[in-house]
Point group: C2
Chain length 454, copies 2
């Protein structure tokens, strides 16, 4: 049979360092700006929000940063994660391409997010912090930080986008089972939230608003810090363990990827799988095609502007230069909640500008069609976010078929869909629509981007 | 830190044989009787329902039966499954006991059930069968057979207990995503179902009724066979890979269990973890305590009668001697749907009568309390069924604490609770009641047990 093959690393070969792509960039990314002064921020500016160890990681240019042993100890619960060769999917597609996928759904919270939640909680605990705030959309990130908080004795408060809070009670239940407190955002616990509720008491919320609320609490409480699940340099760096493991596992398989595919919302799982490979290239190694796949309804990389913007709606966060749809843009309510963010990680945006990565966008029905095909062939039901990567990999595999090329494709299956079965029910019932954003709203949001002194 | 330890077997050490406890029993179990003649059945009597290879396994007394390579090939997707030392749970309990758990939730369907679904589907496919029927309660088994059917090109029809079909759409969505057909039971597709609907069009269904429907379809269609997820000898044997792996992993850990705990509904995950250890004892090895934990609302082992009974409500199945609450008994609707069965696997019942195992029962609130404690300590949210094993293990650990004994406890964490978060929501909201059955109904069901010639 040999219908699929699993490549498992011995735990002793689990990477002991994160890979920091900052060390290998030909041009450094644009500086992060203070929202008040519009001048580059220094470490002290970020100190109300993050412990110093994470701030130093955020600005570090060291190529390797050691993963603390207590963090690796927790990682061993599910890492090294498996790499699979998808023989059955290849057969179903009739492609000469070889398809490999790295599976991050084996973590307790079911996605790649604990790769950064655990070190973030640990560094905070080491700094004596006992309270963390964060935001979450569908709940992948919130449940991961709740899990990590439970391990290190940190009280976690999660501001969950109200529409998800109301419609997706399962991930909320997971957060609460881990002992976290979960509030619908906008809430009446912050100035940012109250201001929005005053305008619209039934506001459905957005990630940008939830970030404002979580940041506000951390900034105004000495005993509380803030934790972000994507976008920031140190968060992306924490995910590079994915690509480093995949590199070792593909060596075991005697193979090397021609194309690497990941889905992008904030950019962290994509960075995790591809940064170590891009780093090889930047140090004189082989050039590979790297494809970011985003939702057509929230297409920051393919339709956004590369410009300075705020990370949140209330404009409490620093400004970063990134592909953005505008911080006031509200994407339509499609099912891949983890990809509904107006911006993109500055590092991912920077690589796009340097032509080191490509980007493409698909609507959700095409992604769910790919996900169901994958589930029947490989047995794992992907998260709606991960379906975008599956779709991207299938498109590449079918291109190989059309071109008669036996390329090697690697993609990151960043999480399972166990908490997202409502989306599959709607897809099977033909009830999913391929929503698109309002072009006028996008134009307005882009017109409203902050002006920044040159 | 070393807060927990994972013991992983190399795939080359994954067991290549199932262990058949029939070879080592001091007394054989009572014969299975034909429902028409009340005489012992022969292999041909079972041929309308099962392929001959599985019938031969059902009656085999060979100690080891080879796991076919194509089945092991699929198993490598998630096997060998990990064994964890629960250091953090031990600390939370303040017990001198060592607690180990074998984790079966790593399978694509999220429980131990694929361990038998995959070989059952494979043997059917080898026999040329392209259609299988089965029943499911909450859906652990139905989704596992749907997964296995997708792998081997078999159309799977699942009769799902109507109350679960209506209230738990997520597992149904999983079955349908794998391509299976799912019908609410009682249905109008069978004589058994129509007879019940004629009496009560709103009947909530039961496992016994769903079995009748699935068996009827297989018995009346030449191209269709039936598949059962627990109770039968060959199903229990397929699960022994769990205990065999655990034995090798505990050797790696330099440890040996004093107490082994599993939850019991039909008996298969319990048999999987403990039969290999009981077999050692029967061949002259060490005696260990083996504890079956069942729901207090459906207590076949602790309150049932050891007698011949039917496996289903319509009395289409053969009769087996087992601990039973009577085939007309309807357990209350608690959340561990996988444990809501009136009977117990004949082999597990036989071992109970031989005093080779103990049995105990707990109400669901106590089990969920244990499950939440476990989730916060170990990061994995157990299925409601598995919470019974967690509770049993915690009781043993606290006994060790009271007695000052550093015993080694092993339990089987048979599945995760990702599709059962409604139960956790209700538990957290204080809405779970510790239902109990009606004593009069139990007495009536027991009084109605079939009389069998001596």
């Amino acid at each position: 049979m040999n219908d699929r093959t699993k490549f498992l690393l011995d735990e002793s070969r689990m990477p002991k360092h994160w890979y920091n792509i900052m060390a290998d960039l030909p041009v450094p990314p644009a500086p992060v700006l203070h929202p008040g002064t519009m001048q580059p921020v220094g470490p002290d500016d970020l100190a109300p929000l993050f412990p110093m160890e994470l701030i130093l990681q955020e600005v570090s240019t060291e190529r390797e940063i050691e993963i603390p042993e207590p963090v690796r100890e927790v990682f061993r619960l599910w890492r090294p994660s498996p790499l699979f060769r998808a023989h059955r999917l290849e057969k179903a597609l009739g492609t000469p391409a070889k398809i490999y996928y790295k599976y991050e759904g084996v973590s307790p919270a079911g996605s790649h997010k604990p790769n950064t939640a655990v070190p973030q909680a640990w560094y905070n605990a080491q700094a004596g912090i006992r309270k963390l705030t964060t935001e979450t959309g569908a709940g992948q990130w919130g449940s991961s930080l709740a899990f990590a908080g439970a391990l290190f004795g940190i009280d976690v408060t999660v501001y969950q986008v109200r529409v998800s809070y109301d419609q997706k009670p399962y991930r909320r239940a997971l957060m609460e089972t881990y002992g976290a407190k979960c509030l619908p955002s906008p809430s009446d616990t912050t100035n940012s939230g109250r201001a929005i509720l005053a305008q619209n008491p039934n506001h459905p919320g957005s990630l940008g608003i939830a970030i404002s609320e979580a940041v506000e609490i951390a900034a105004t409480h000495d005993d509380t810090k803030y934790s972000l699940g994507s976008v920031l340099n140190h968060v992306l760096m924490h995910q590079t363990i994915i690509g480093q493991e995949a590199m070792l596992q593909l060596e075991m398989a005697g193979d090397d990827p021609d194309v690497i595919v990941g889905c992008t919302g904030g950019g962290s799982n994509f960075a995790g799988i591809c940064f170590p490979f891009i780093g090889q290239q930047l140090r004189g190694g082989r050039k590979r095609r790297i494809v970011a796949v985003e939702p057509a309804a929230c297409p920051s990389l393919t339709r956004g502007k590369f410009a300075y913007d705020f990370g949140d709606t209330a404009h409490l966060t620093p400004l970063t230069k990134m592909h953005t749809l505008g911080s006031t843009f509200t994407p339509p309510g499609f099912h891949a909640g983890g990809l509904r963010y107006h911006g993109m990680a500055p590092l991912v945006s920077h690589l796009k500008e340097l032509n080191l990565i490509e980007a493409t966008a698909y609507h959700q029905n095409a992604c769910f069609e790919a996900g169901v095909l994958f589930a029947r062939a490989e047995g794992i039901v992907p998260a709606p976010e991960a379906n975008h990567a599956v779709k991207g990999a299938i498109v590449e595999a079918l291109r190989c078929k059309a071109e008669g090329k036996a390329e090697t494709i690697l993609f990151n299956l960043c999480g399972h869909g166990h908490f997202d079965m409502t989306a599959y029910i709607n897809y099977a019932a033909g009830k999913l629509t391929d929503q698109t954003y309002d072009e006028k709203e996008l134009a307005m949001a882009l017109a409203g981007l902050p002006s920044v002194p040159a």
